[in-house]
Symmetry: C2
Subunit: 381 residues, 2 copies
């Protein structure tokens, strides 16, 4: 087991009605003015927006708004938020939405306390040393952004999809009410399931030190996500399934699964980020395309763990069957598993590989994942 630091100071407020207390949670931190960040307005089609505003008003918390955050969130929108925060003496950022909104809020929180260009943090030109507190009310479960310090943003000019990671932008309080997620489309539910599974298996397969305990936790998360996804596709209003799905999603990327591992990396995310950046593919859809291809390419390098995966998740000790069954399951829940299904032509592969190799280089894997290697992987998709 490798040395590690585990520190996750986010408070999770989980369950029914909890969004109505968001003003109270913010007020308890002595905060009087927030920037309310959200997406395309779906929170106004339900009562959520009104509920949030009522709770803020009740607790005498002023707010200004930034709407229009899109999935695969953009740097231009982040910069808009930073300007608003700086000009209005904003004391905290409140994200109401899914992972993209939470990620944008984190980038704004860091940028608002920085004199330079926030992109400096993403290209590792500068380190985050200070940030406004972040609060979230989640309407989608997948990225675990609600309980980690990660944010992924696309630079709309350079087409780079890069990330930051700092405990300083871990949300102070995150509200998870599974009822707010009941209207997520079946398509996005499937993409979310793929995303959660991907968070778990990246390190599970690539780590050179992988304790059994960590493998067991990963398998617990995957089994729960598969079980609850199938229930929710049948009955989107099954509260308990939605709740287990949401909580498992959080455990998938809050620092628990990699603690004590060594040598793990995120190659599927690295490659997928190019699909999102160049073709605006939904992150989970892109992952469903990349994962089976990557697994087929990688499996011999950690065959014992691939056999374990196959055994624990699908009851077979044959590594190939595990990969095949996972790919089938992705298809079954409605996720694409080929580049063709996400409308990426064969002659687009090279540009994807060059873009992904840029991320690989940033993540210190540029030599291992050369342009040629990434082409080899993507050709299997």
């Amino acid at each position: 087991m490798n040395n590690f630091t585990y520190y996750n100071p986010t408070k999770i407020e989980f369950g029914k009605e909890k969004q109505n207390k968001i003003g109270e949670y913010i007020e308890q931190s002595g905060i009087k003015k927030v920037l309310l960040v959200y997406g395309g307005g779906s929170i106004k089609r339900s009562t959520l927006y009104d509920d949030i505003v009522a709770s803020l008003n009740k607790n005498s918390i002023e707010f200004i708004e930034l709407s229009g955050v899109v999935s695969n969130p953009l740097l231009s929108k982040t910069n808009e938020g930073i300007t608003l925060a700086k000009e209005n003496n904003i004391e905290a950022i409140l994200a109401v939405g899914g992972g993209s909104v939470a990620d944008s809020a984190k980038a704004i929180a860091a940028g608002a306390k920085y004199d330079g260009d926030v992109w400096d943090f993403f290209i590792q030109k500068a380190q985050i040393t200070e940030a406004l507190p972040v609060f979230t009310v989640m309407t989608l479960s997948a990225t675990a952004s609600e309980m980690n310090g990660n944010a992924v943003i696309i630079n709309d000019e350079t087409k780079q999809k890069y990330s930051i990671a700092s405990v300083l932008v871990n949300p102070k309080v995150s509200v998870i009410n599974p009822e707010l997620m009941a209207t997520v489309s079946k398509e996005y539910l499937a993409y979310s399931a793929v995303d959660i599974i991907s968070h778990c298996i990246e390190v599970y397969f690539t780590a050179t030190t992988q304790p059994h305990f960590n493998s067991r936790i990963v398998e617990s998360i995957i089994k729960t996500v598969m079980e609850t996804t199938e229930i929710l596709l049948e009955n989107p209003n099954d509260y308990d399934a939605r709740a287990e799905f949401a909580w498992a999603a959080i455990q998938g990327l809050n620092g628990l699964t990699p603690a004590g591992t060594a040598g793990g990396s995120f190659p599927n995310h690295m490659i997928e980020h190019s699909l999102s950046a160049l073709y605006n593919v939904a992150h989970g859809a892109g992952l469903a395309v990349v994962i089976p291809a990557w697994m087929k390419w990688y499996k011999e390098q950690n065959i014992a763990q691939f056999k374990r995966f196959s055994q624990e998740i699908f009851g077979s000790d044959d590594a190939d069957i595990g990969i095949e069954k996972l790919e089938e399951w992705f298809s079954k829940i409605g996720a694409p598993t080929t580049l063709k299904e996400v409308n990426i032509p064969r002659d687009g592969i090279e540009a994807l590989a060059i873009n992904a190799n840029g991320t690989a280089t940033m993540w210190g894997m540029g030599e291992y994942y050369s342009v040629e290697t990434i082409i080899e992987i993507l050709e299997r998709a």
Copy 2:
């Protein structure tokens, strides 16, 4: 799934050599003077005491000492610590030892900021509203005290073994170096294994709402503890097994396993506390005696979960076999499973039941666990 709040702000510094940084961790919080709490002096037989002192000195942290904390820690010693803390303007408590030392440190931390009698918190006459920060360096893994806000203390006058629970006494930083645990006796390793398993199964069996995800996490912890205990009994110096054991122990009582459950209780702990209080039985040994008896008595009330346990842990769908195999496993690792083995005579049962019913009443289970019922359970032991 039930509504819940999950909040665990303890930072875990896990791995080799980390004890040498304890001064740095304390200094980062701006603390200049600590009360160093430890047990019978085993930390002086190794280099640990010297290492801690060197790290404190290096970071210019003054300290005074409180030694002599015993397992099943006493209120009298806690009060001694509170007096020392108050008289010497202590800014934080540093516990170096096992669960008893950590628990004592927490009680001292709360008592040092309270004008009344610290026992008020234990009998729920007062609520903890403030506490000194607590830091720990652990030499034993079992209670998960290193990552929770619980402390159990015995009132040496009244023979009550009662507890407090407050996030205000969660350690700020806990150092877990599995190497420091290599000298734990086989006996105490076995008791620790039983303790960890007990933390997991209490809610697992008694909850009226128990999500599959939580059951899976519990089973992951139990499998890991059983696997690594067997390895460590053969080879106490197996670092990786010791590390997995230690990390699984923490997950067993840091708030993760009960999150989202409802109706769970801790009857085995409730009954065991009487064995410790009246006969000074080691906590884990007492649990090994109580658990099989309680399981036999309780199983029909949640037969599906007892079958699940048997299946997942021992590969049989027969609930009785699961109980039998667990009892056998306790014996195999050297834990007692009968009152006779811990030198408690049959005519001592009534006094134990009366004492345990006192705890039951405090925990709101006094009617369910009447004196007669507890006698009925203990007669199976």
